[in-house]
């Protein structure tokens, strides 16, 4: 039996002109990787900042490992780790110094400090560059250092705000592996915000869709995807009467074109294909091609909100790149 270690009830954050977070409630289990998936401006960062006690909610209740975040914020901060979307390591210090500074600020005992810093550096593969100024690091290395930095206080719950935004695929997979390892080896509870459905699908045990400050759906990726109504199976056949035959065989045909392209909704499409082909062959139909499209989280999101997540992705990547560049320009 797992226990809820983060509970959020009717959380609201309003600003003079907008409601950033509109009465959301959810629970996270211990050792779970929980994802907030939604487009930019949906309220993801505002939520993460409220959970970390950086901004005060307008109303609602948050508890983290039994600690009330509104009445005892310092205690929540002590057990939390945070990797913000923006930069969180100082380019004018070395990698090692960034870690040392934060282990001191978190009050890590002097005798365990060096060992802990060395272990997070090795964990992130940064031990060889730890003596260099962070300004000389690549984007991926900075990100790994930020992750290392978020671990110096051995957090019980780690908050990652868009952890792989602006990274190349290689750096991204390093981050993903790291997050999974952290949960598998240490049982750390992890809260991730992302607008990348692939990231949410690859990493998260459960996902909450957030749009315009509201939670629109919550569940396991597989559960969510099954709500779209199954897989899309597409065949093309020039044999006349194929559409009628498909319907006759009991398939749910949702579109057919005069050129002989048919689309139908099925469950477990990969198992349906062999049977379908045999059925059609037995009925004298010649199939030219078959294609299967599994539902994506984006399809689910679209079902609940009528919009897609993906299109807006680029802007914040740009923002982050600009920030990194700014950082380098300062030298």
């Amino acid at each position: 039996m797992t226990s809820n270690v983060v509970t959020v009830e009717n959380l609201v954050k309003t600003y003079p002109r907008i409601t950033a977070v509109d009465s959301i409630s959810f629970k996270i289990d211990e050792g779970e990787i929980f994802g907030f998936l939604g487009p930019n401006g949906a309220g993801k960062t505002t939520t993460i900042r409220m959970l970390l006690t950086l901004i005060k909610p307008t109303s609602g209740k948050i508890t983290v490992f039994g600690v009330d975040a509104l009445t005892d914020p310092a205690k929540v901060r002590q057990i939390s780790g945070y990797v913000p979307q923006d930069l969180s390591v100082d380019g004018d210090l070395t990698g090692y110094e960034n870690l040392l500074m934060y282990s001191k600020l978190y009050g890590v005992p002097r005798d365990g400090r060096e060992k802990r810093i060395r272990s997070v550096l090795e964990n992130m593969g940064l031990q060889d560059r730890s003596g260099d100024l962070v300004n000389t690091y690549s984007g991926g290395m900075m990100r790994r250092l930020e992750l290392a930095q978020s671990l110096v206080n051995r957090p019980k719950v780690l908050f990652l705000d868009e952890p792989s935004i602006g990274l190349d695929p290689n750096a991204r997979s390093i981050i993903w592996d790291f997050v999974k390892n952290l949960r598998n080896e240490f049982g750390t509870t992890i809260f991730i915000t992302t607008h990348d459905m692939n990231e949410a699908d690859a990493l998260c045990d459960r996902i909450a869709f957030i749009d315009k400050g509201r939670l629109v759906a919550i569940g396991k990726p597989s559960q969510l995807k099954s709500t779209v109504g199954g897989d899309l199976l597409m065949i093309s056949s020039k044999t006349p009467g194929c559409g009628a035959k498909l319907k006759g065989l009991g398939y749910q045909v949702i579109s057919n074109s005069p050129e002989g392209n048919f689309e139908m909704l099925v469950s477990n499409g990969e198992r349906v294909i062999p049977r379908l082909l045999e059925d059609l062959k037995a009925n004298g139909m010649i199939v030219e091609s078959v294609a299967l499209k599994k539902p994506t989280l984006d399809d689910v999101f679209q079902k609940y909100t009528g919009t897609k997540i993906a299109e807006e992705g680029e802007t914040s990547v740009e923002v982050r790149r600009t920030r990194r560049t700014l950082r380098k320009l300062r030298r």
Binding site: R49, L52, T53, L54, I55, K56, A74, K75, R77, Q78, S80, Y82, P84, Q85, D86, L87, S88, V89, D90, D92, L93, T94, E97, M101, Y102, K104, L105, Y106, G107, L133, Q149, R323, L326, R327
Partner: protein, 257 residues
């Protein structure tokens, strides 16, 4: 509740890493030392020739040196709010605020960081004054006293700057407000002439101006040798610092929301 030692060690940690940054790039100390040096060299030498300013039997350069020491720290500290805005823009401030360190300790730690920079600059100015042959009472006690005054005054002014940063929010505006304040703070003080030559209304400003107290304490230590006003100088600076630090701590959270 956090213990006092943890509180103090958080403040010192923030200042320690500012020092480490200076060690990585020490050129900025020398560059920033040029302006106060020019005040001594150009302004000081020119006004020495006028002899129109009552300096109580001391040469004008003797009189001026503590004023320039305080000024050099003030120029660093009054713009420290820009650093805060910059760190907010980058995201570093958010990260810092996500640690259990209390807001007031963050403010004091950052303020001490500004002072640390000021101390190095002051040493450059002091060395230059000695090279120029200014007759100063330089001994371990007076130098220590001067450094303590500089640290306290630097904390005081950078708290003012950090208190203003969340109100003005952008680097440009904080820069503007710093420039706006520099002028009255510097000229309505005893830094380059005694307050006795001022009209009454201006003297009132000089009396509430923390710079006057920092200059007075350093002038006593380095020039006059009359320590009788030092306790009141220090108390005035401590009171001003307490008020400004409280203000800055309270407004800090507005910085990120």
């Amino acid at each position: 509740m956090m213990s006092l030692t943890t509180y103090l060690s958080s403040i010192l940690t923030l200042a320690e890493f500012e020092l480490r940054k200076l060690r990585h790039d020490s050129s900025q100390i020398w560059i920033r030392g040029v302006q106060p040096a020019l005040w001594l060299l150009i302004f000081g030498e020119a006004f020495s020739a006028i002899r129109g300013i009552p300096t109580g039997g001391f040469t004008y350069l003797q009189f001026l040196t503590p004023g320039i020491l305080a000024q050099s720290v003030m120029f660093v500290a009054i713009f420290y709010g820009i650093t805060l805005v910059w760190e907010r823009d980058l995201g570093l401030l958010n990260k810092l605020l996500s640690t259990p360190v209390p807001r007031s300790a963050i403010v004091l730690g950052k303020a001490l960081s500004a002072s640390v920079r000021g101390v190095f600059q002051a040493l450059v100015v002091l060395a230059l004054a000695l090279i120029l042959g200014v007759n100063l009472a330089v001994n371990p006690l007076s130098v220590l006293g001067v450094l303590c005054t500089i640290v306290l005054f630097g904390v005081c002014v950078s708290c003012l700057s950090m208190g203003l940063a969340p109100i003005f929010r952008t680097r440009e505006r904080v820069m503007g407000i710093g420039q706006l304040l520099t002028m009255p703070l510097f000229f309505a003080s005893n830094a380059i002439y005694p307050t006795s030559i001022m009209p009454d209304w201006l003297r009132v400003i000089a009396i509430v101006n923390p710079l006057s107290y920092a200059v007075d304490a350093m002038r006593a230590l380095l020039v006059t040798g009359d320590f009788s006003t030092i306790p009141q100088d220090i108390i005035a600076l401590l009171v001003a610092t307490a008020i400004l630090a409280t203000m800055a701590s309270l407004t800090l959270k507005r910085m990120v929301s």
